[in-house]
């Protein structure tokens, strides 16, 4: 069932959310960048913005995440997991990012389930804002993760001008709307059809785009990408790891203990499969010592049929962040395009 809320009433709703938990929204910082940040008042929220380069996955999977406390107690060690039970609302998150968080949650739910991650995710309510005008570098239509969502949100907002259409996708979404009953009214037929029209218009923005995923997937899954091509492409990678850091679906991490006199905190940290020692073994052997092998692995994980079958989607939500962040030139569309054509930059 869809609702609608008047534009002016949003403030009151946000006020209510602020009373019930931490609200995170895109905010313009002093240097002009939009960053997802904790807000303390509703006016801070940006409504017309390009999706921030730094993704909101940090609110389910922080770059540095304390997961276990270890304390020395005489001869023994006490070990206690740490959980973050803060109730959070992720407000005005874009469709691709909502889809990304759903992807991460599927990974961390797999056995053995990751309690630390899941506690955070379960406490997070995702209130997404559909993209009436898709961002210039995005290609979410190719990955089925936008510009409007069918799933993966708790609440989806669509800007209808005077009002917002409010779609509820889960119990958490229902809860987010509760307590302020007179702010929301059942959506009129007109409002619902406006939303449909906007979705079609948004999709039409992608007209020129060609989607290479299917043909690239065939080649990658069957090992038909020449080694020489990987080698050539990997010379255009500077191993910065940025692609992994900003990728809404990248979830690899490493762990390291942070020592504090007599007590330690085991932290998980974002890691990058593009770093040389990512797969380094204690013996000194490194199964992916060369950049081209690491790059090949990354794209196999993202785009192969094998993983598509397991995950139900490619490991990409089309946000286009890797295009902006790539210090080299080997972002997702560039590599996928090159694989389809069988050549790089010629």
């Amino acid at each position: 069932m869809a609702f609608a809320i008047e534009r002016q009433a949003i403030t009151k709703w946000l006020q209510k959310l602020l009373e019930s938990g931490e609200v995170i929204a895109p905010v313009r910082g002093p240097c002009g960048d939009i960053l997802f940040s904790t807000i303390h008042s509703p006016e801070k929220v940006e409504w017309n913005f390009q999706n921030p380069l730094h993704p909101p996955k940090q609110f389910v999977l922080p770059q540095t995440d304390p997961i276990v406390k270890i304390k020395r107690n005489g001869e023994r060690h006490e070990v206690a997991p740490t959980y973050d039970d803060t109730r959070r609302f992720l407000f005005n998150v874009r469709s691709c990012d909502a889809k990304g968080i759903a992807f991460l949650t599927r990974m961390y739910e797999m056995e053995p389930a990751d309690a630390s991650y899941l506690r955070r995710a379960n406490n997070l309510t995702i209130i997404s804002l559909a993209c009436n005008i898709p961002c210039p570098l995005g290609f979410c239509v190719c990955t089925d993760s936008g510009p409007f969502l069918r799933d993966s949100y708790d609440v989806q907002l669509t800007d209808l001008g005077e009002s917002y259409l409010v779609e509820v996708g889960s119990e958490k979404g229902e809860t987010a709307l509760s307590g302020v009953p007179n702010l929301f009214h059942p959506a009129t037929e007109d409002e619902v059809s406006q939303r449909k029209r906007l979705e079609i218009e948004a999709k039409n923005h992608f007209e020129q785009e060609t989607c290479h995923f299917a043909s690239a997937m065939r080649r990658i899954s069957t090992g038909r990408v020449q080694d020489a091509l990987w080698e050539k492409m990997s010379d255009s990678c500077l191993e910065c790891g940025g692609c992994n850091m900003v990728c809404p679906t990248c979830y690899c991490f490493s762990v390291k203990d942070l020592g504090r006199v007599g007590a330690w905190v085991r932290c998980r940290m974002w890691d990058s499969c593009q770093y040389a020692a990512f797969t380094l073994e204690a013996s000194g052997h490194n199964p992916r010592a060369h950049r081209k092998e690491r790059m090949k692995r990354r794209f196999f994980h993202k785009v192969s049929a094998q993983y598509y079958q397991r995950d139900g989607m490619v490991g990409c939500v089309g946000c286009g962040r890797c295009i902006k962040v790539c210090l080299g030139a080997t972002n997702m569309p560039a590599v996928v395009g090159a694989i389809r054509k069988g050549k790089w930059n010629e």
């Binding site: 002093p30 940290m269 210090l327």
Partner: protein, 640 residues
């Protein structure tokens, strides 16, 4: 979660990012699309910048070594003790000195310099200047009258031709490499000069593979080919400048290959060309001459001062440029003015209210071996100077060694007095990148324990030597810097304008170039019958031993693993050379040079040509007896 805009503390590209904190603790880094240098991109080091600050082995209390053991003391006790000991040494006529650091801010370096010259009355003040940029700057100054860059990182991307003396740009300056890649993608011609086939060399249109120490052969070849072009076609090839007849005499007999002719065309006919220069290796003043010849190449083709064109010296660490500008070099005062420049001396004497010493000071390596009292600010000399661990032995003989640092380093472990200071994420201050862009560090979190802000500690030491000033903020220090180094005038105001607010230093107006003869080709005579191979020390800096990398779990994994597997270091050589040695399964070789010999493990590489051996800067200690004080030397290689 809060986001504090700051500047990357690693290389001198000067990328910007947000330091993310949660409840006052650093938790990560977020890129910035609005930053003028990095525009949303960072390299691996930048992405992990918060880690060392978090994981680092930190100093929390002032320590004084008493009865051979470091004991915590109060700040006043430590500072008084340090001042007392240093005064006693000076009174006894013993030499003292100060080492600044490219890991320290401008404010810290400036006060370190002031403490040395005005406070301790000595010009014994330096950082790893000589190994990192000294020859480079000297060469540029010879030709351009200035050591400063004439182009920016962003301009590289729109160049049509890029000439790169390759020290492994992708590793040393990823942000610069990124711009080169962008240009190449748009069809630019990249010409690389170097002895190794690096990543950038593979991306190039043309790689001029040299012998280590003999880069000048390629540069002279290019000079000759360009002068040929001019002789053929006076009108369309811009060759300018006085004195190139002498240049012609020097290079006319150099052999021109088809490749050199092609590269010369690309350079001479490009509207926008970038010249990227890393420190080369070699004996004596050869690296300086290489830099001069390279600058000449840019100068005579008109690319030195044309909009969109220019030369960029590649400086290894974040604040090399700043340390130079602050005068943390024995023969240069703040503003990079020569020590004997009377006007500059007067300016500083007026500002500091002290007469300045005029005796020449020692450079870092001599200083380490000669002083009785030494203050080291935020650096670990054995890791950074070329003499490597011999610096450790030298420091062990110093009567009174004081270290200011945020991290525990080998130098800290042997110091007599240790003052804990804030790291880059805990302090206010500025860094000057290789382009001359002055950018802010901002406080994202508090220093641990009793650690204090570095510039405040140095200001207190200055006060104890009667050159104090009542600074209330880092900005106050920056305002004084503007008086000491005129190029920094107005910077403070521009930095306060909000946003990223980096400010480029003004170009000085005396940048006119002089064409010099380049001298005969460098090291052609280096290798000879008894020693047919050449051993080169690769690079000018080792990130692996920098605390910012060493203490970062993510970064140290990449940088440290080789060290674990090769505790005795290694030299690299090509397969053909290894086969020719008939080592019979042995993985070691004996190297002999005029200086001495050493037995070292080998590693086979595909990016070296026969006859060339290379040792990473990190492993220079293991061949110190072979290299002597050279960075390139002829060797004989045999089974151990």
């Amino acid at each position: 979660m809060s986001a504090v805009p700051s500047t990357c503390p690693f290389c001198s590209c000067g990328c910007g990012f947000y330091l993310l904190t949660n409840n006052g603790q650093l938790v990560g880094v977020a890129p910035s699309e609005t930053h003028p240098v990095s525009s949303g991109r960072l390299c691996a080091r930048g992405w992990s910048a918060h880690e060392a600050a978090l994981w680092g082995d930190r100093l929390r209390q002032p320590l004084l070594r008493q009865n051979g053991k470091p004991e915590s003391v109060s700040w006043d006790e430590a500072l008084d003790h340090i001042a007392g000991r240093l005064k006693a040494l000076i009174d006894a006529g013993k030499p003292v000195g100060v080492l600044g650091s490219p890991r320290a801010t401008n404010e810290e370096n400036y006060l370190a310099g002031k403490l040395a010259r005005a406070g301790l009355q000595t010009n014994n003040v330096d950082f790893s200047y000589h190994s990192i940029c000294g020859p480079l700057f000297a060469g540029l100054e010879e030709v351009c009258g200035e050591h400063t860059p004439t182009t920016s990182l962003n301009d590289i991307a729109s160049s049509q031709t890029i000439l790169l003396i390759e020290g492994n740009l992708a590793e040393t300056h990823p942000r610069a490499a990124s711009s080169v890649m962008k240009a190449v993608e748009k069809g630019a011609h990249l010409v690389t000069i170097g002895y190794r086939i690096t990543q950038m060399a593979r991306l190039s249109s043309l790689h001029l593979q040299t012998t280590p120490g003999n880069e000048r052969e390629a540069i002279n070849g290019l000079l000759a080919a360009i002068l040929d072009l001019r002789r053929q076609d006076r009108t369309s090839v811009a060759v300018r400048g006085e004195g190139y007849e002498a240049l012609w005499r020097d290079v006319k007999s150099v052999k021109r290959t088809e490749e050199l002719r092609q590269a010369a065309e690309w350079i001479a006919r490009a509207e926008r060309a970038t010249f990227l220069l890393a420190c080369t290796g070699g004996q004596g003043d050869q690296p300086q001459k290489d830099a001069a010849a390279f600058a000449t190449l840019a100068a005579i083709t008109g690319h030195l001062d044309r909009p969109g064109s220019g030369l960029l010296p590649l400086l290894a660490r974040s604040n090399v440029r700043g340390a130079c500008d602050m005068g943390v070099i024995p023969e240069r005062l703040p503003g990079y003015d020569p020590l004997d420049d009377e006007r500059a001396r007067q300016r500083l004497q007026d500002l500091w209210g002290k007469k300045l010493p005029s005796d020449h000071g020692w450079g870092a390596e001599n200083l380490l071996q000669s002083v009785s009292g030494l203050i080291v600010v935020a650096d670990d000399p054995p890791s950074v100077v070329r003499m490597g661990r011999r610096a450790m032995a030298a420091m062990g003989r110093i009567e009174f060694l004081v270290v200011l640092d945020a991290f525990v380093t080998p130098t800290v472990r042997i110091a007599h007095a240790v003052l804990p200071i804030a790291n880059f994420a805990e302090t206010e201050g500025t860094l000057t990148n290789m382009e001359g862009r002055v950018q802010r560090l901002r406080t994202a979190t508090n220093p641990p324990g009793e650690a204090r802000i570095g510039w405040q500690v140095l200001a207190e030491l200055c006060a104890r030597f009667d050159v104090g000033n009542s600074y209330t903020s880092a900005t106050d220090v920056l305002c004084e810097i503007a008086q000491a180094a005129p190029r920094y005038a107005g910077i403070e105001q521009r930095l306060s304008e909000g946003g990223w607010g980096g400010a480029l230093l003004k170009d000085s107006d005396n940048a006119k170039f002089v064409v010099h003869p380049t001298g005969a080709t460098g090291a052609a005579a280096l290798a000879f019958a008894g020693r047919p191979h050449v051993l080169a020390c690769d690079g000018a800096f080792d990130w692996g031993r920098d605390p910012l990398v060493l203490f970062s779990p993510t970064l140290s994994r990449d940088y440290q693993s080789e060290r674990k597997f090769f505790p005795n270091g290694f030299v690299e050589m090509c397969e053909r050379d290894v086969d020719a040695l008939n080592l019979g399964g042995q993985r070691h070789v004996r190297l002999t040079s005029v200086h001495g010999d050493a037995v070292v493990p080998i590693r086979v590489r595909t990016d070296l040509k026969p006859g060339v051996l290379s040792v990473p800067y990190a492993f220079r200690d293991h061949v110190a007896s072979v290299l002597g004080s050279d960075s390139v030397t002829a060797v004989n290689v045999e089974p151990p």
